[in-house]
């Protein structure tokens, strides 16, 4: 049986949207897939050594379950983002859901390849030393070299 392949494009850098790429990649690797994730735009945040900047915002997210109904103008107050992030992280821990750091480590351990978008690094003046080691940097063409041969290709 030939090895199956999965490619994911991770474009978002919020706590909720950090889960799909890392869960799918680590699980696919456990199922013996060869996996690559291409991190572009805000997705690059997920490759930082320091993941404390990965937060969740209650704004513009009407589907987010809230302990009490919260008007938009209240959700926009200073400190609400940090509070929502803290509450979400507590819930994640309580329910036995892995942290983003754990899932990322599981991906690395199981051989998932991370590609950082070179253009985004340049565009936002990101510094490579802020990102974890072992990342390959490239562009769209680099992505397609692998994506073109995959069984599943997802945009997150």
């Amino acid at each position: 049986m030939t090895q199956k392949k999965l490619a994911i494009i991770a474009t978002k850098g919020t706590l909720d949207m950090a889960y799909p790429p890392f869960i799918l990649a680590s699980t696919a690797a456990a199922l013996d897939y060869e996996v690559q994730i291409f991190f572009t735009f805000y997705g690059l945040t997920l490759l930082r050594k320091d993941l404390s900047g990965v937060k969740i915002s209650p704004l513009a997210n009407p589907a987010m379950p809230m302990p009490v109904p919260m008007p938009v103008l209240v959700a926009a107050l200073p400190g609400m983002e940090s509070m929502a992030t803290m509450m979400m992280k507590q819930k994640i821990k309580k329910k036995g859901v892995a942290s983003i750091g754990e899932l990322r480590a599981a991906c690395i351990e199981s051989g998932v390849k991370f590609i950082g978008c070179e253009m985004t690094v340049d565009l936002f003046d990101f510094k490579r030393e802020d990102f974890i080691d072992g990342i390959e940097y490239g562009g769209a063409s680099t992505f397609f070299e692998f994506a073109g041969s995959t069984d599943i290709c997802l945009f997150v």
Binding site: I23, S26, T27, A30, L31, D32, K95, G96, V97, A98, A106, S110
Partner: protein
């Protein structure tokens, strides 16, 4: 059922039981049996799917109270 290794995945949520199962199987040799105990109801279907896709045989899968017990034979 006899087993060579036991994995306690209690309290862990998707996809951790599967990730830890994969890792634990890696420490066994072909034909050896891994016992996994989980509390995640979703792991029942996931473990079946894992076994089917990886070729490790799911010898048994049964609920025990609020827990789920699996026996997997390493490919």
């Amino acid at each position: 059922m006899d087993f060579n290794k036991e994995l306690d995945a209690r309290g862990l949520n998707c996809p951790l039981p599967i990730l830890k199962t994969k890792k634990a199987l890696g420490e066994l040799t072909t034909g050896q049996v891994l016992k996994v105990i989980s509390t995640d109801a979703g792991s029942v279907k996931d473990m079946e799917a894992f076994a089917k896709q990886t070729g490790n045989e799911l010898l048994s899968s049964m609920p025990e109270g609020k827990e789920y017990v699996f026996f997997l034979k390493k490919k």
